[in-house]
């Protein structure tokens, strides 16, 4: 049975390896400081006691005033699952460091979080809109998506700001 680490247990693991990395803890999760995030996760991955090697899940959550990025990290040998969180404040340009250098599997999940929430991941090698197209107005999973300027308005029929379809660059030989 996988042991789901409580916030304080996860915090203890993180504090032991990288002192000063934990922001606060809740019952289920441990909030890390964004500037120490990559360092902490790398240490937790490489440490045999923590052994948090498998970034199982990464997702963003919109809490109106701030965004949270949730990392569920799994250990195979110890069989425990730790939940870490990072907060990003500000709706205009929320930014958290990318953990792609530590976990390759974060690559696509961070792209997805960027695509749907607009959270920028600093240090990501190729951050692009993976599901929607480049130039899509707004960030769909934000709570205020429908009210955003340029968002989907009823009766508009088509997204504003999308370049009109162009004729293919093919010449017809008559």
């Amino acid at each position: 049975m996988t042991r789901e680490l409580t916030g304080s247990e996860a915090a203890a693991l993180a504090e032991a390896l990288v002192p000063g990395s934990v922001d606060r803890t809740t019952e289920t999760a441990c909030y890390l400081k964004p500037d120490r995030l990559v360092e902490t996760l790398r240490a937790l991955r490489d440490d045999p006691d923590a052994n948090l090697v498998h970034l199982t899940n990464l997702c963003g959550v919109d809490y109106w005033d701030h965004f949270e990025v949730v990392y569920h990290i799994q250990s195979f040998e110890k069989n425990h699952l730790a939940c870490f969180k990072v907060e990003a404040w500000g709706r205009e340009n929320p930014e958290v460091p990318s953990v792609t250098p530590v976990f390759h599997g974060a690559w696509m999940q961070e792209c997805e979080a960027y695509d749907l929430f607009g959270i920028r991941f600093a240090g990501h090698p190729n951050l692009y809109r993976i599901l929607l197209w480049e130039g899509y107005p707004g960030w769909p999973l934000r709570k205020d998506f429908l009210a955003m300027p340029g968002g989907l308005q009823p009766g508009l029929g088509e997204f504003a700001g999308v370049a009109p379809r162009q004729e293919p660059p093919v010449k017809v030989i008559e």
């Binding site: 195979f76 040998e77 069989n79 093919v170 010449k171 017809v172 030989i173």
Partner: protein, 417 residues
Amino acid sequence: MTPFLVSDKWYDIRDLGNLSREILEAADRILPFGVVYVLAALIGFVASFLLFVLPSQLIVGVYGERRIIGRMQSRLGPNRVGPFGLLQPIADAIKLIQKEALTPTRADRAVMYIAPIIFVMPAVLLWAVIPFGENMVIADIPVSLMYFLAVSSLPVIATFMAGWSANNKYSLFGAMRIVSMAISYESPLVLALLGAVVMTGTISLSGMVAWADEFNIWMVFVQPLALVIYFICVSAELNRTPVDIAEAESEIVAGYLTEYSGMKWGLFYGMDIGYALAASGFAATVFLGGWTFFGLEQWVPGWLIFIAKTHLFYFLFIWTRGTLPRLRADQLMAFAWKFLLPLGVFNLLIVSTERMLWSEQDYAKGLIYVFALVNIILSVALVYAWARFNGYRPERTPTRPRLVKQAGGYIPVGERS
């Protein structure tokens, strides 16, 4: 050796040669030579077309290619048009002929139209030299084996034209693949047939059938390895499934056929069966004794035996198509050069030595059976040994995964849990 039951009467349909001979002799009395000559070729063509190619297309095209494969894949196959779906190819032809033949605007139009025509021509020409029965051959030329080899390499050019002219990347892949495959598989093919030529001492297909009749043995028993090599090489040249890398529908959508549609596509598709049939007929003639069957040809028309053998061989094509996955391009080339070609050389050495020994013994009839036995054993041993030499190690590929009881981390190979 004249079958005693077959009479010389023109109405004896067991030997269609009688009929055409009667017609031609009658025509010769009243018409100038040139007309008779054209008439002879036409009769040969029409007779072979009506008797053999058309029914084979229908039967093989539906029953072989679709119903048998459908059976292998546990589905029905075409069964609506005509009795048992026999008329399906005709329905397909009508459908295809009225479809629009799209030609992309960026393609090379002329080449794209010429390619299917060039592709079809050799398929018809191949039938010129294959003897359907005694005296039932359109052009009984003495170098018919060479003729067959030469003509059967022509469609490669047509497929390359088709692939190149379409201006499509997938077609380009197909074109490039088919050229490299054709040049790789031509050498083992010719080498394998050389074994048969050494044994019989003739490059006429009628001569080969006569040889099989005389010694009462089929070439397949004397040259089993040659048949295997021939089969694989011909599958490659014909783009049949285990080696159909030029079409490879799962990789490069349809290869050189990607841009073809309508009747132009239909010609490629229909003639694929035509080529496979011609190759089967050739194999039946060279390796399976043609229209002879150990004396049965005195009771049954020879052309019926020939058709039966051809379809038996064609069944092999269907079988491999329904069973085997496809090789990759580089593996395919390596297989031709490293496996088939050396085996062909080995086969040639063996058969030429045997032939010399045989000629010392004044072509004693019994000796050929000894050779057959020796060759069958040698072929199996050779194939196995050469495969081992090339790195065939089935015992090193476990086909069952390891089983563990407990979840945990990485378990290195060799560690029991």
